[in-house]
């Protein structure tokens, strides 16, 4: 069995003349918590539907632990899934849906499932018709996390959850990672991705623009440097490659953005009487907006 939980090669989906996903090549090693980012309409759900065999690729292929994604009877023995917009059989109660999912699923830890029902504060006696968006999502999350599947595919799983439940979600992801499960998390909640993911892929307009560890992404993006100094301002900063948008924010204070290694900038600062120095690394949100904003301006 392959130690790649997910692999896609030239995965492409076209709807008529619209290309929803263009030539996606992606590898997610087993055991990783992998974030899948992109603005609305970037092709995240299309990708996931193809990984699950629910949509057929126009070109390219996808594998789940080396099993072709279209062979759902085998591939789905290895995965649990939470859809983006959960719809449940309206006349079944939460308990009945969980029972059906466990009976037809890839193997479920029933004790852990009951624990999750408690932790997510889910009332399973209610018919699904009466559930709110968040409660429907909880049913799908409990069903997926309770499986012993080696891969969990979560498509924007927390969009309807409150902050308390969001915390339970992060705990559940951490526990899944500790058990050795791979998590493929598509999300808009960048703070959440930043908190739980090892690596992220960024998708834009159907194309993959970046795959990297979050730490590595930070290095590629602008950090914000704030300097306080006594006497003359540090000279020559604007000539240093990577330094940009130098601003005087007050008397004896300036701020600039920095991309890449900080060495040359620090040497320039050493000439001045620096009294305080702060470097703030970019948040994932800023990185994300960097990619997204670049697309906006290049259009």
């Amino acid at each position: 069995m392959s130690d790649l939980a997910l692999r896609t090669v030239n995965l492409t989906k076209r709807y008529g003349r619209v290309t929803a996903l263009d030539d996606l090549c992606l590898e997610v090693p087993a055991g990783e918590v992998f974030g899948f980012l992109g603005p609305n309409g970037a092709g995240k759900s299309t990708t996931i539907r193809m990984l699950l065999g629910q949509a057929r690729p126009t070109a390219g292929r996808a594998w789940v632990f080396g099993i072709h994604a279209a062979d759902v009877a085998r591939a789905h023995r290895l995965l649990g899934y939470v859809p983006a917009d959960v719809a449940l059989w309206p006349s079944l109660t939460g308990a009945e849906i969980l029972h059906l999912q466990a009976a037809t699923g890839p193997g479920t830890d029933l004790a852990y499932r009951d624990e999750l029902v408690d932790r997510f504060a889910l009332d399973v006696a209610k018919p699904a018709r009466t559930y709110s968006t968040g409660n429907r999502q909880k049913v799908a999350l409990v069903a997926a996390f309770a499986t012993r599947a080696r891969l969990l595919v979560l498509d924007e799983p927390t969009s309807g959850l409150d902050p308390l439940m969001e915390r339970e979600f992060r705990t559940a992801v951490a526990q899944a990672r500790d058990r050795g499960q791979t998590v493929f998390l598509s999300s808009h909640q960048l703070a959440e991705v930043e908190a739980v993911c090892d690596r992220v892929a960024i998708l834009r307009a159907g194309r993959l623009v970046e795959v990297a560890a979050i730490e590595h992404l930070r290095g590629l993006h602008r950090a914000e440097v704030t300097v306080s100094y006594a006497g003359a301002p540090p000279a020559g900063l604007d000539a240093i490659p990577g330094v940009d948008t130098i601003e005087q924010t007050g008397p004896g204070r300036l701020r600039f953005s920095l991309i890449g290694a900080p060495g040359p900038a620090l040497r320039a600062l050493a000439a001045a009487e620096v009294t305080a120095l702060a470097i703030r690394e970019p948040t994932l949100e800023e990185i994300f907006l960097d990619y997204y904003g670049a697309a906006e301006t290049s259009r």
Partner: protein, 536 residues
């Protein structure tokens, strides 16, 4: 920058437009059928009634309680218009009533259930007005259908008063069932329950009409039934307006009640609250196949009640009708010329009526496949399709459950007819009755096969495709016979190849060919279902 707001259009009119769009397509089909069928019957009247012996038997026909029960009280058969009312009037009313119920609950409770009204109701139009405008859209179609009947009968040169009364009756009956379904959609918080309640009213009304027509001492029952009131208006004979006014008044009261109820309930709620919790019922949830059976059980019960009671009634009346026809050979000859041979014997009578069984049971299979497609587009199936279950197995489970349901319905009809005949002292073996009922299964399977084919390639068309072999085939045969179409047109209909079991032996060649064709359709559908993207 502050931009000028777009000046508000009339918001209510936009909602009416939305409602009309949703009933337009099916409404036009219903309109075409309600206008076309009386036209066809009137056009063939002269050829059917050319024989003076037939005209002489009319009085006897009206006197037979069993014939009145099954086909309604024949009045004014001496006129083309009256004959059309008797031949297709009840069927038209039933068709329009069923459409009114299904369309009304679909565009009101169905849309609300699916959450599509949440955004709509965030606008300026209150729930009451939205409900009223959707009911109005369905009522427009009903009124237009009534108008079409009158127009067609007038154009055919029948008595204007009779044409007006019959058309008005059909239209008002449509309004009545829109109001019934509209009220049910306010009372019950789920579309299936609302539809079920309204269909129960329709079934009870039809049964009350049948009993009231058949048993003179219970004739007053007809005043309580919309179909009975329609019959009491006696178009082309007395042209009574009072029964229609009563029906109209009932429709107005019910529509008013629906309007009032809409103002007193929560959006997505009904007057009857959904249960807030219950103990889990874990039966039939252990596999995809078991779950398919679980989902079919409740609708199957409704279909079984309707089909079972109809064939029980047929059984009860069989002896009386066949004895009557045996005593009146002139009428039996007429019937034979109209395509109903051997009605003089119980076997022939049941065989003729068993053939009709393919229509509702074929419809059942089409509706089941359409519910499967609806579960897919409604994304209820998404979680199951992510389980280690192949698509072929998902589809096969559904097809198997539908086939099982169809076999159960057909067998039930056979047993019910047998029980009715046995209770009245008739002589028809249980096995013979079952053989007669089972004989229609190939046409039912053709319906299922066509519905599966559509599910695989054109999911939206599942119901229409599934209705083609049975309902479409039946209509084709009737029309082909009526207009003396060339033989090959007639031969397209599967009904042209149905032997009249139990009167004669089953035609095994035709049975095998139809079954093989049904399997081929289903296989082609399965291929498409595995290749296409799931919707939703």
């Amino acid at each position: 920058m502050i931009t000028e707001a777009i000046p508000p259009a009339v918001p209510g009119r936009a909602i009416t437009g939305l409602a009309v769009r949703q009933v337009r397509r099916s409404g036009l089909i219903v309109l075409g059928l309600t206008a076309g069928m009386p036209a066809l019957v009137v056009a063939t009247y002269t050829s059917v009634m050319a024989d003076p012996a037939a005209a002489g038997s009319i009085a006897k026909l009206a006197a037979n309680p069993a014939i009145r029960t099954l086909f309604g009280e024949p009045v004014a058969l001496d006129q083309a218009g009256g004959f059309a009312v008797w031949r297709v009037g009840t069927f038209l009313a039933l068709l329009l009533g069923a459409w009114a119920i299904l369309a009304t609950t679909r565009v009101t409770r169905g849309e609300e259930d699916a959450g599509r009204w949440d955004v709509l109701l965030a606008g300026r139009v209150p729930l009451r007005a939205v409900v009223a405008r959707h009911l109005a859209a369905a009522m427009i179609v009903s009124a237009a259908a009534g108008g079409a009947v009158t127009t067609v009968l007038l154009l055919a040169g029948t008595d204007p008063a009779g044409a007006a009364v019959h058309g008005a009756g059909v239209g008002v009956l449509g309004l009545f069932f829109v109001a019934v379904a509209g009220l049910a959609a306010q009372v019950f918080p789920a579309r299936s329950t609302a539809t079920g309640a309204a269909v129960a009213v329709l079934g009870a009304g039809l049964l009350a009409r049948m009993i009231g027509d058949g048993l003179t001492e219970l004739g007053w029952l007809r005043w309580l039934s919309p179909f009975g009131l329609l019959a009491l208006s006696k178009p082309y004979a007395q042209n009574r307006v009072l029964p229609l006014l009563i029906l109209l008044a009932a429709a107005v009261v019910l529509a008013g009640a629906a309007f009032a109820a809409a103002g007193r309930r929560d959006v997505r709620g009904g007057l009857v609250m959904a249960a807030s919790g219950r103990r889990p019922r874990l039966g039939l949830l252990s596999s995809v196949e078991a779950f398919a059976v679980r989902r079919v059980l409740r609708p199957l019960t409704g279909w079984a009640l309707g089909i079972g009671s109809y064939y029980l009634l047929i059984g009860f009346t069989a002896l009386s009708v066949t004895d009557f026809l045996a005593d009146n050979p002139a009428l039996a000859d007429e019937a034979a010329r109209a395509g109903f041979t051997g009605l003089g014997a119980v076997e022939g009578f049941t065989a003729t009526l068993f053939a009709l069984l393919a229509l509702p049971v074929g419809g059942f299979t089409a509706v089941r496949m359409s519910a499967f497609v609806a579960a897919e587009t409604g994304r209820h199936l998404t979680l199951l399709s992510a389980q280690p279950v192949s698509r072929l197995r998902l589809l096969a489970a559904e097809v198997a459950a539908s086939t099982g349901g169809a076999v159960a319905l057909v067998s039930l009809a056979g047993v019910a007819a047998w029980a009715g005949i046995a209770a009245t002292g008739g002589d028809l073996g249980l096995l013979a009755a079952l053989h007669g009922a089972w004989n229609t299964l190939p046409i039912v399977l053709l319906s299922l096969g066509a519905a599966v084919l559509a599910t695989g390639w054109v999911p939206r068309a599942a119901v229409i495709a599934g209705s083609l072999p049975a309902t479409g085939g039946f209509l084709l045969l009737v029309i082909a016979d009526s207009v003396s179409a060339p033989g090959w047109v007639r031969e397209i209909s599967p009904f042209a190849h149905l032997a009249s079991v139990p009167l004669s032996a089953a035609d095994w060649t035709a049975t095998s060919v139809m079954t093989a064709l049904a399997v081929a359709l289903a296989v082609a559908g399965a291929v498409g279902y595995q290749r296409r993207d799931l919707q939703g």
